[in-house]
């Protein structure tokens, strides 16, 4: 086994705890150990390991071993010495002892736990029982009270019956005595308060009494019913008002929930009906269904409003807490942008207003001279404008005058030419006639005559051709008035005019430039000079 002297044996604290108090009392251990034991009599688990060296040291090894051996043997363990008297230690037995001690320790711990559990259980049971006990006590007392009360009542009733009997007896005695004496002395009887005579008590009066009583009751009930009706009507009105307010408060989205659910649809119809019904029946009926519908509809509206408000609250709270809901974020940004924009706008507007104000101020704060000057400026401006306009007007007038003049000249010329033409024509006709009658005249003469003589046709042609070249203004002088020309011819013997003519005298009126002539007539007519010319014609051709 070897030499075990140098082995230090580790102590188990619980055992040390258990053992030391005992050993301190025994006084068998050596003095040094005693002091050590006394010191260690209040060990704590923390100090356990620090005391490992405290019990057994190098010096008192023998003593501690022998002490341990003694303790173990008293507890029934086998000795740790190899032999009964020797100093050699039996390792096997030491190990066994240690094992046994460990097992014991475990058992003790478990037992302790169990004891604690039981302790807790018992504690709670105690509380529960105490409560039950208190309740039971209360019930018991109540029972006692009730039993005492019944007993008391019974006794009271008994006493009361006795008392009644006594009263009856007394009453009899008193009544007997009373018959003899006159109880009431009065100087004279007084009239009734209402002046009427007293009535006999008959069945009729009884019936009347009943009637009166019922009348009184009925009138009271009627009054109360009236009051209640008024109250109801007022309350209904208030409810209607509330409903309207709630409906107006709710956002228009409320249509959605209505359309979504079928109930909603039905309700909306119902509500319309209710609305109609209530208007009619409000003051008269307190119809059960109407009332129910009204209250139901108000409840629904109120719930919707509540939901709406809750939603708003949630939105606000989410906004406050800064939850990252994209929608919200974007909308907020947009909101901010918009607000910035609006602010800018406001700034601009303000500045504009300022400048305007300044200008206005200037105007207002100018002294009279400047204002007059300013006013004059405005007047001058206006005057100048007006002058401009006048100038323009006058120019236009001049132009018109010129045109008129030219037209009149042209007309005059035309008239003259017409005259000449007429003369020519007349001459030509005459010549023709004469030539036709003469029949032997030289062609030259004819031609010259044609050319020179007042041959109205040729002249007409010539003049026409001649006059074709100048502006069209003149040619239409004749064309629109073929009948007039013919008139002139017929009327005027003196063909002083040389009306313009074409190669085809009969057709010249209608052919060629008819459109042009029409246009020209239009122009003429438009300018108003045409009529002037015609008038001139008329004047000049008497």
């Amino acid at each position: 086994m070897g030499d075990w002297k140098a082995i230090t044996v580790p102590l188990l604290s619980s055992d040390s705890k258990n053992i030391f108090p005992y050993t301190s009392e025994r006084k068998r251990s050596p003095t040094s150990m005693n002091s050590q034991v006394l010191r260690l009599s209040l060990p704590s688990p923390k100090n356990m390991y620090s005391f490992f060296g405290a019990f057994c040291t190098e010096e008192n090894l023998e003593q501690s071993i022998s002490y341990i051996d003694r303790e173990l043997t008293t507890m029934g363990f086998p000795s740790i010495y190899a032999e009964s008297k020797g100093k050699e230690l039996n390792l096997v037995s030491i190990i066994n002892c240690m094992n046994e001690l460990l097992v014991l320790q475990h058992k003790n711990l478990r037992a302790q736990e169990e004891v604690e559990m039981q302790h807790l259980k018992l504690g709670s049971d105690m509380d529960h029982l105490q409560n039950c006990y208190a309740k039971l006590k209360v019930q018991k007392l109540q029972n006692i009270i009730s039993s005492r009360a019944t007993q008391y009542n019974h006794d009271m009733k008994r006493k009361e019956r006795e008392y009644n009997k006594l009263k009856e007896r007394l009453h009899q005695l008193v009544m007997n005595k009373k018959d003899k004496k006159l109880a009431m002395e009065v100087l004279n009887y007084v009239g009734r308060a209402d002046g009427k005579r007293g009535a006999w008590r008959t069945d009729k009066t009884e019936a009347r009494n009943e009637e009166e009583m019922y009348k009184v009751l009925l009138s009271d009930y009627e009054q109360r019913q009236k009051q209640l009706l008024l109250e109801n009507a007022e309350l209904k009105k208030i409810l209607q008002q509330m409903k309207k307010d709630i409906v107006s408060l709710l956002p228009p989205q409320k249509q959605k929930p209505k359309e979504r659910s079928e109930d909603g649809l039905v309700l909306s119809d119902q509500e319309e009906d209710i609305g109609e019904l209530n208007k009619e029946n409000m003051w008269e009926l307190s119809c059960e269904t109407v009332r129910e519908q009204l209250t139901n509809s108000i409840r629904k509206q109120w719930r919707m409003l509540k939901n709406h408000v809750e939603k708003l609250d949630n939105q606000v709270s989410r906004g406050h807490s800064g939850a990252w809901n994209e929608k919200d974020v974007i909308s907020r940004e947009a909101h901010e942008l918009e607000t910035e924009k609006l602010e800018l706008e406001i700034q601009q507007c303000k500045e504009m207003i300022k400048t305007q104000q300044q200008l206005l101020q200037q105007q207002l704060t100018c002294d009279d001279d400047t204002t007059l000057l300013l006013q004059d400026c405005y007047l001058l401006e206006e005057r100048e404008r007006l002058q401009e306009e006048w100038r323009l007007f006058r120019e236009q007038k001049k132009n018109f005058e010129k045109e008129r003049k030219s037209f009149t000249e042209a007309a005059i010329r035309l008239g003259l030419e017409r005259k000449a033409f007429e003369e020519d024509r007349g001459a030509w006709l005459k010549h023709q006639f004469l030539s036709m009658t003469a029949d032997c005249k030289p062609e030259n003469v004819t031609t010259s005559a044609f050319l020179r003589s007042s041959d109205p046709d040729i002249r007409l042609v010539k003049s026409a051709s001649r006059q074709r070249k100048p502006p069209f203004v003149l040619s239409p002088a004749v064309s629109p008035e073929p009948c007039q020309i013919s008139q002139y011819i017929t009327h005027n013997s003196v063909a002083s005019e040389k009306p313009a003519a074409d190669n085809m005298p009969n057709l010249w009126v209608e052919s060629d430039d008819k459109e042009g002539t029409e246009e020209c007539t239009k122009l003429w007519e438009d300018s108003g000079v045409g009529t002037l010319c015609r008038n001139l014609h008329m004047e000049q051709l008497p």
Partner: protein, 449 residues
């Protein structure tokens, strides 16, 4: 405010006439009738014995004086002072006496409540009501004087009989589901009768005029029950004061409780105004001190002046713990009164004897608490306006109205301890009664501040 001088009085027997013209007062066996405004003595009547009870007839033409010891009732006429009437109950004895509403019949309750005799002043007829119950309020007349309800007890069961006062015919007779009826009271509209049980059993029964049970109300079972009851002037509310220091108000539509008014010792609500009566030391003009001191000076030195102060909420009131082993403990709401305009209810909780609680009925909340220096003896509402007069056994009268409250010292020789107040029917004056004297206080029209 004007005060009359003090006059002698015995037995707290001072009453204004219903028409407000006269004031009747008793000194031992003499009855004095004075003019209400000038207090001049109009008539003096002498009765056979010490008067224990006086009552004016409803038309103010007659006064009855009851002498219980002799068992005699004497009736005096104001129109004809020579007229006299004496009703002798003889060996039957007399415990109570009262007028009928028409002022022509007298109801005498004989000893041991054997019967109630109805004596007529118009005819020779006499009626008897058997088995009346010996309870606090066993006989009740409707406000319009048409009907009378009487509590009867036969074979240990309670019954109520309703009579028509016109001809004393029995209209209805029915039994009540009560243990031991303590009292009955008609609603001011004359259509509902409230009956309440003894304090050992909390039960309030409501009967219609035709005897049907309308409703029965019970707040709790075992503790002591109803202590006081009051109808509101509009008959809309019935206030029930009970031993648990609460007032429960029932409404006339459903006869169910609409609210409970609690009377805790600590008032913490910010909406309540608490007026506290505080003493103020009298100012003594040292130059005017003379030796020997005059009586007036002496009394003014010793009489304490007081005024109202508003206490800051929370206020804790003086609370007396009731003695547990005595009957009729001083616990619970013992006094209840509605104001004439139906807006206020004044209550007194007997545990807190120095305080008057004024509740606003429109809001059903505590409006004002008046805390006095001594215990409340009585209070009464002005019959016309919401004005409350309170007396505490001192020589001061306290007035409260929604506009404020005021303490008024009755001028005089000091030893005037007011224990009872009675308003004039017009609300213009008050009768202040003490054990030995009385005084009339005249209020100006625009008196209340």
């Amino acid at each position: 405010m004007n005060f009359s001088e003090l006059f002698k009085l015995s037995g707290l027997l001072g009453r204004f006439s219903p028409d407000g013209k006269c004031l009747a007062s008793c000194i031992q066996h003499r009855l004095l009738v004075r003019d209400a405004s000038s207090l001049q003595i109009l008539h003096l009547y002498t009765c056979l014995d010490q008067i224990q009870y006086i009552e004016w007839s409803s038309d103010s033409l007659f006064i009855l004086c009851a002498m219980y010891k002799r068992g005699v009732v004497q009736v005096w006429s104001l129109e004809q002072p020579d007229w006299h009437c004496k009703i002798d109950e003889g060996s039957a004895g007399l415990v109570a006496s009262c007028w009928s509403p028409d002022g022509r019949h007298i109801l005498n309750t004989t000893e041991f409540h054997l019967r109630i005799t109805v004596w007529s002043l118009c005819t020779k007829s006499v009626s008897y009501i058997k088995y009346p119950k010996a309870c606090q309020q066993g006989v009740a007349f409707t406000k319009d004087g048409r009907y009378m309800a009487v509590v009867e007890r036969r074979d240990c069961k309670d019954f109520i009989s309703i009579f028509v006062c016109n001809n004393w015919q029995l209209l209805r007779h029915f039994d009540t589901e009560s243990q031991d009826l303590f009292g009955i009271e008609w609603a001011p509209n004359g259509c509902v009768l409230a009956a309440w049980d003894t304090c050992l059993e909390y039960k309030v029964l409501l009967y219609s005029l035709d005897g049907r049970l309308l409703s029965s109300y019970r707040a709790y079972e075992w503790p002591l029950g109803v202590k006081s009851i009051a109808w509101s002037p509009s008959s809309q509310f019935l206030a029930i004061g009970s031993f648990d220091e609460k007032v429960r108000i029932l409404n006339h539509v459903t006869w169910k409780k609409i609210t409970e008014l609690d009377h805790p010792a600590t008032i913490s609500s910010k909406n309540t105004i608490v007026y506290k009566e505080v003493e103020k030391s009298p100012t003594v003009d040292t130059e005017r001190l003379t030796f020997p001191p005059t009586r007036a000076l002496a009394s003014s030195l010793f009489s304490t002046q007081s005024k109202y102060e508003i206490s800051q909420v929370p206020v804790s009131l003086q609370y007396t713990k009731p003695v547990a082993d005595r009957a009729n403990p001083k616990v619970g709401v013992g006094m209840l009164a509605f104001s004439a305009d139906n807006c206020f209810l004044a209550t007194k909780n007997d545990n807190i004897p120095n305080a008057v609680w004024i509740w606003d009925i429109r809001k059903l909340k505590l409006s004002v608490v008046l805390e006095q220096l001594s215990s409340i003896q009585g209070f009464q509402w002005d019959p016309c306006q919401p004005r409350l007069a309170v007396c505490t056994g001192s020589s001061r009268v306290y007035l409260w109205s929604p506009a404020g409250c005021v303490v008024v010292q009755v001028p005089g020789e000091g030893d005037f301890q007011i224990t009872s107040i009675s308003w004039h029917p017009s609300g213009d004056s008050m009768l202040l009664l003490s054990k030995e004297n009385f005084c009339v206080c005249y209020l100006e029209r625009e008196e209340v501040k």
